[in-house]
Amino acid sequence: MTQEKVRFGAPLKIPGWVNYALIPLVNLVAAFVLSGIVILIVGDDPLEALKVLLYGAFGYPEAIGYTLYYTTNFIFTGLAVAIAFHCGLFNIGAEGQAALGGIGVGLICLYLDGLPFWMIIPLAIIAAAVFGAAWAYIPAYLQAKRGSHIVITTIMFNFIAASLLTYLLVEVVIDPNGQSPESRRFIETTWLPYFHDFLAMPETPLNLSFIYALALSAGFYFLVWQTRWGYEIRVVGQNETAARYAGISPAKNIILAMMISGALAGFVGINEIQGVQHRLILDFTGGYGFVGIAVALMGRNHPIGIFLAALLFGALYQGGSELAFEMKSINKEMVIVIQGLIILFSGALEHMFRPKIEAAYRRIAPRRPVEAS
């Protein structure tokens, strides 16, 4: 075989570090350069801003805690969007599923708080999963059995979830002693342990659900690439006809993948409601579901990529708030612009520099014969 490969004259292969490190880095730099220009226009110092951003995201223990806390949410939603993608589905509904997950967690922590914490935690996890999955089930069922386009139904379900959450908070679980649309505070035995409870670090919202998110990432990898169920999901996602010929039911897998997706999104409720807020409130989904789409796509639907993309967005959220804090002319809108530019360059324009970088690499790298593997 050696002989044949050499004869076919393989051109130089682009090594992994160029693909997975250099090019993304160049994209990120481009995004920052453009953001810097905008910052310059508003009349501030871009280099200073970059310093603040990085310092704010990673510069001190508290910052890291916050960054990882945001990362946790993005891992959940990124994985959620990714599993649906693997089945060829576009789940725009992670936001609504997260809201439902939070409701599930909230109901457990409000009404079953007599139970010991070692029962509450698994129960809350189950509730988040069940509520999130149930919310994803309906669009999935309609897609699988009735052919209703999942993009629309999940968009609609986001709106409906918001109404449901508001209804519950305004009419049902509202704290009778309070005046705002939030539930009463959960009792302390229902809370998820914080990192600062058992590690020497300052108080941050970072809690056990981060570990849980990492474990799920591993589970995600295992499910998608190492099991026959993941295999089936991927076959359905790539070629439905081939799936049917292979005896794989598209409907079943669509529903399965979406329910897993909904459950994953629902875990945002664990981090937010049980981990940090300790009460059911409005807006806790904070757009994580939408950004999850970018996280999944930038992470190429792979848990490692998703982790890195989630970390990037976690850092942007945390570093961004530091920016808004520290720099007078940078307000929250400016931070949104920077986030958008990063999604644009690292996500949508990710191939912009690729050909040039590859060509440059080919020119610089020494030509060596390709040996057979």
Partner: protein, 305 residues
């Protein structure tokens, strides 16, 4: 120059056309008068509330103004952790020795503009348009409705909420449609308590030559001639006063309830609504105001129901 104030705006941001903006105006006024700069932060994620308040305290703020009911939990935590920092919380109560809680009797102010609305209405139908459907807005609605019925027991109040997500605060076209639908149903005065959405309501009233009532700050200047009045909620004054008192050492913790009596809420009379808001109306409103202060009229607080 050692005085170091800070403010944390809630979601919606300091330019929300509503009460965050009023607070911004208050602190800007303070800055202009005293030359003292301040730290500020606009919350965009729920978890930032706590982070921001804590941070202000850590960075050596003498007083942290926290805007909005949603900040209560964050203030409670930060106040416990930073007993030497003063906190002023607007729109919600936290009972701690270093927290000053300021709440407004929005229902009283709404009652008064309800009286004016009922009197200005020829059709006997008036409208209310709220932003996001939360208890605070229902508080406005209830007070308004009671005021309308007080002035004209036969009147009808058409109530609409814009939506159930925060987008409901920034949807002027929806506000405009809601206003149109209320006008179509016969209303000829409309009260908008809906942030940016309200701008659409006021605009539509101007377009359709109907009357509108603004909210929080004085919005009469927007459409002179069709603005009946504005229900004033003096967040700006409260913020300004809190800062001033903290600066000169007279700041006191505890609950401040700002109602008609304290001039914390009220209505606007100015050159823009001259002639629209008639003397009869002003007189009736003044009388109702006096009665409320004296306790002759009881306005229901939605939160107490």
């Amino acid at each position: 120059a050692d005085f170091n104030p800070a403010i944390v705006f809630d979601m919606g941001g300091k330019f929300d056309k509503s009460f965050n903006e009023a607070a911004y105006n208050g602190i800007e006024k303070f800055k202009k008068e005293t030359g003292i700069d301040y730290m500020e932060f606009e919350v965009t994620q729920v978890s930032q509330r706590e982070q921001a308040t804590q941070r202000m305290a850590k960075k050596g703020a003498d007083i942290v103004i926290a805007m909005g009911f949603a900040q209560a939990a964050a203030v409670e935590k930060a106040a416990k952790a930073n007993p030497d920092t003063k906190f002023t919380l607007i729109d919600m109560v936290v009972d701690l020795p270093n927290v000053q809680s300021i709440v407004f009797r929005e229902e009283q102010g709404s009652f008064l503009v309800g009286v004016a609305a009922a009197m200005a209405s020829k059709s006997g139908k008036v409208g209310f348009i709220g932003g996001m459907d939360i208890p605070l807005i229902r508080k406005f609605a209830l007070g308004y409705k009671e005021g309308v019925l007080y002035a004209n027991p036969k009147a009808e109040v058409i109530e609409n909420m814009t939506g159930t997500t925060p987008a409901a605060w920034n949807d002027p076209t929806k506000g405009s449609e809601l206003a149109k639908s209320q006008f179509d149903r016969g209303a000829d005065v409309v009260f908008a308590a809906a942030g940016g959405t309200g701008l659409g309501v006021l605009q539509t009233a101007a377009d359709e030559k109907k009357l509108a009532i603004g909210v929080d700050s004085n919005q009469d200047y927007l459409h002179p001639g069709t603005m009946l009045t504005s229900m004033l909620k003096r967040v700006d004054v409260a913020v300004y006063n809190a800062l001033m008192s903290a600066k000169d050492g007279t700041w006191k913790p505890g609950i401040q309830v700002l109602g008609l009596k304290e001039d914390g809420v009220g209505f606007s009379v100015d050159e823009w609504n001259k002639g629209v808001l008639t003397d009869d109306m002003i007189a009736a409103m003044e009388k109702a105001k006096a009665d409320i202060i004296e306790g002759k009229i009881k306005v229901t607080n939605y939160m107490d129901q």
